[in-house]
């Protein structure tokens, strides 16, 4: 797997909400097999950037390219089927459905009643459940799970989606150390298989442990991108991050 | 002349609708509770007035006070004993709506059993129409209706913009936790919203009783108007609901110039339908998240 293969390209992206410039001329590349973390102070536009990629928002100007083709302006469900998946900061699990059903429905994208490849699906579901430690909870409703389990279910859904690009919005926040390690291990495992992962994260420890690359966003502008070492050592960025500017 | 007559009728209907809609909009906009029993509040107030005025002959001040008390107690009790409990459990939109609906059905039928299903009217000297011009009949009651509506809205405006309570009420819809800043709790604010929202329908109920009359199933129509006006005017905007109520009242009457009366209710809903399809935010409302 070539690690220099660029799967997602964002070019000169701008998003304006009736006067509020949420995203300002952002250009960013996400290569295969690389974990990129998006950091920045609150309100910097990180989630907005995700929404612009997934089609939940349409850019004012600029473009997003996936596997070479332009995707901005395409409906979210179509973009999802092209291989881009995301999690939400507030999880948005299918609460009244069971753990198993949450995963099944993601795998069943296009079909209506009859499923082809049932056995393959069942095996894959079992595998995902085991990897995320949810195998004993498969018949539980999502709303009845514990906090960490819900976080893992959110990850399980994206694992089931067979997406090549994972956009994770604060996926590990609030996890206890043991769960966190398991989480990191899983992400590394999938990145090694060639999945491109982009994470929004506030917790700097997480950023250091997880990221291959870091992109720093502030007030809608991409201020810097590079290796985590470079970015995190920069005093100017630290000042912005911790709010020393007006 | 027909058009002018229809305009006057429309003004009267519109003013009443504006009051009704404002009450519902206040409650819904501020507590987010789909108070499907708002129509029941109206009916209770109307029949309470009727009972005290026409049956017990206690004079209109006592009758009015009774109506106000009945409406207020009904609204607040519903909030405290039904909605609050449901919201503590899991309070999904549907559960609250279904419970509200159930209450409305019970009230409608209890009133039907107590007062009969027919139309019940109260005639007062002010209800008799005067021929202002050839073919133009207006009752002095119209003036009372309009004055009443204006006073109510002025008071409401004052309450909402000049008092702590009012500001807190407006904050409740946006962010319930802000309320604690004012030393109030969301529960107490909710009670106030229901108190004021329920009282707002009382003038409309009394005036309807003295003009077109009451019957138990009018709660349906009241609900429909409240809902339609709140949506067309924009959720969260009292001004919008009031204006929309006026608009719907006028439309309901003016359309009689061109179509049969059986279709006038449908006109209200065509307007509502079109707004939902093309401008769900209503005239003044905030953007709707789907």
């Amino acid at each position: 797997m070539s690690t220099t293969e660029i799967l997602l390209q964002i070019k000169g992206l701008n998003k304006n909400f009736g006067g509020l410039q949420a995203i300002s001329d952002v250009t960013l590349d996400l290569p295969a097999g690389v974990i990129t973390t998006l950091v920045g102070p609150n309100g910097a536009g990180k989630t907005t950037l995700f929404n612009l990629i997934t089609g939940h928002l349409v850019p004012t100007t600029g473009s997003v390219h996936w596997l070479g083709a332009q995707i901005n302006g395409i409906e979210p469900w179509k973009i999802a089927r092209m291989g881009i998946a995301r999690t939400f900061q507030d999880l948005r699990l299918f609460n009244q459905m069971t753990v198993e059903e949450n995963i099944m429905t993601v795998m069943e994208r296009g079909s209506w009643i009859w499923q082809s490849g049932q056995e393959k699906n069942t095996a894959r579901i079992d595998q995902i459940l085991t990897e995320t430690g949810l195998i004993d909870k498969r018949k539980e409703r999502a709303v009845d799970l514990a906090y960490a389990e819900r976080k893992f279910l959110s990850l399980a859904r994206i694992m089931a989606s067979q997406a090549k690009l994972w956009l994770l919005d604060e996926p590990a926040s609030g996890l206890d150390p043991r769960s966190f390690e398991k989480f990191v291990a899983l992400l590394r495992q999938y990145a090694a298989k060639g999945i491109t992962i982009c994470i929004i994260e506030h917790n700097l420890d997480i950023v250091i442990q997880l990221s291959d690359r870091v992109a720093f966003l502030d007030q809608g502008k991409l201020l810097a991108q590079g290796s985590s070492q470079d970015i995190l050592k920069d005093p100017h960025l630290a000042a912005i991050y911790f709010g020393d500017h007006a | 002349m027909l058009i002018v007559q229809l305009i006057f009728n429309g003004l009267q209907t519109g003013a009443l609708y504006a009051l009704i809609a404002a009450g519902f909009s206040l409650i819904f906009g501020m507590t987010r509770i789909f108070h499907a029993a708002h129509g029941a509040t109206f009916t209770i107030a109307g029949y309470a007035f009727f009972e005290m005025y026409s049956v017990a002959h206690l004079g209109w001040p006592i009758a009015a006070l009774t109506a106000i008390a009945a409406a207020a107690i009904f609204g607040m009790m519903l909030d405290r004993w039904v909605y609050a409990i449901i919201q503590r459990h899991e309070g999904s939109f549907f559960t609250v709506f279904a419970a509200s609906f159930g209450v409305a059905i019970v009230v409608q039928n209890l009133i039907a059993m107590a007062f009969g299903r027919g139309l019940v009217t109260i005639s007062t000297p002010l209800s008799k129409s005067i021929e202002l011009a050839p073919g133009l009949f207006v009752a002095p009651m119209l003036a009372i209706v309009l004055v009443c509506a204006v006073i109510c809205f002025a008071l409401l405006q004052y309450l909402l913009t000049r008092t702590n309570l009012g500001i807190a009420l407006r904050a409740l819809g946006e962010n319930p936790t802000l309320i604690e800043v004012y030393g109030l709790t969301p529960r107490k604010i909710s009670q106030f919203a229901f108190l004021i929202g329920s009282i707002l329908v009382v003038p409309a109920a009394i005036l309807t009783a003295t003009t077109s009359g009451l019957n138990p199933s009018m709660s349906h129509h009241v609900m429909l108007i409240s809902l339609a006006a709140t949506i067309v005017g924009g959720v969260g905007s009292l001004r919008g609901a009031a204006l929309a109520g006026m608009l719907l009242g006028m439309a309901e009457n003016l359309c009689l110039a061109v179509i049969d009366p059986q279709w006038s209710e449908a006109v209200t809903f065509v307007i509502l339908f079109l707004f939902i399809l093309f401008r769900p935010g209503g005239v003044y409302g905030r953007a709707i998240a789907t």
Partner: protein, 294 residues
């Protein structure tokens, strides 16, 4: 006695189908419609019109009723795609009111306020269902068929897509669900099958008018679904059974004034709705938790 029971049984099948189909969009798709009766009516009037003017063939009536109802249901689907919850309830209310007015005023097709009379029994492969018992069997078969179809849909991937959309539309979209198509299809299926109930009703009663398709009826249907329990397949059927036996049960209580039985009946199910929502939101069958998956 037998005739009386048969009568109730047929009407139970009709109401059962209506409750099942309403629950399909309410409990599984989260689309709260007060206009369900209109589709019942469309089916009924279509069958009546065909039987009186064209043919008494059962399959043709059912096909025509289903198709017409599914097409008209686009009027309901459109707002369902744009708004949720309270807004949609209002839109469905509007459709209900407009529908009733059309039923009452379009005299040439629906017979206006007087309705349509003298509708013959239907014919299937040459057999005419004149016998009441035969008709009962037909009704039960249709009820079971509808139950089967909905069960298949709900337990399969379509049902999961519906519930995913109900639980979080934005997440469903993010995972590739074509929300608009799924919602529209579910509304079409629900309305089409409700029309089938209308076909049965028309042929059984041999007389229909607008009184059977009013807002009151829509409310009663909603009560059946709510009381029986949304989100379970059998809940609405239980609700239908309960609310149908209620009037009969009330006549056995001697202390109730006979003239007021209708009102008392409504008070009972109104109160039931309130109490259930407070103590048991899942309905009688559903239990404490709301909207359990099938």
């Amino acid at each position: 006695m037998i005739a009386y029971l048969q009568n109730i049984a047929v009407l139970f099948c009709v109401n059962g189908i209506l409750a099942l189909t309403l629950n399909f969009i309410m409990g599984y798709a989260g689309i709260y419609s007060l206009a369900h009766t209109i589709f019942f009516g469309i089916g009924a009037y279509t069958a009546a019109y065909l039987a009186l003017n064209v043919t008494d063939s059962l399959p043709i009536s059912m096909l025509a009723a289903f198709s017409l109802s599914a097409v008209v249901s686009m009027a309901l689907a459109l707002p369902a795609l744009r708004v949720r919850g309270e807004y949609f309830v209002a839109a469905s209310l509007g459709l209900q009111v407009i529908g009733v007015t059309i039923f009452a005023e379009w005299k040439s097709v629906t017979g206006g306020l007087g309705g349509m009379i003298g509708i013959p029994r239907p014919k299937l492969f040459g057999y005419v269902f004149n016998d009441d018992t035969a008709f009962l069997i037909l009704s039960v078969v249709v009820l079971l068929a509808v139950l089967g179809i909905l069960s298949l849909l709900v337990r399969g991937s379509f049902g999961r897509s519906l519930m995913a959309i109900r639980d979080s539309e934005s997440a469903a979209q993010a995972y590739g669900k074509h929300v608009n198509a799924v919602k529209t299809l579910s509304v079409a299926i629900s309305s089409g099958l409700a029309a089938i109930a209308g076909v049965l009703y028309t042929f059984y009663m041999s007389f229909i008018n607008v009184e059977g398709f009013t807002l009151e009826t829509s409310i009663l249907l909603m009560a059946m679904v709510i009381i029986g329990g949304t989100g379970t397949l059998l809940g609405p059927v239980a609700g239908a059974a309960l609310l149908m036996t209620l009037p009969a049960a009330l006549t056995y209580l001697p202390f109730l004034p006979p003239g007021e039985l209708g009102a008392i009946q409504q008070i009972v199910y109104g109160a039931a709705m309130v109490l259930l929502m407070i103590f048991r939101p899942g309905g009688l069958v559903g239990g404490r938790s709301k909207e359990k998956s099938a």
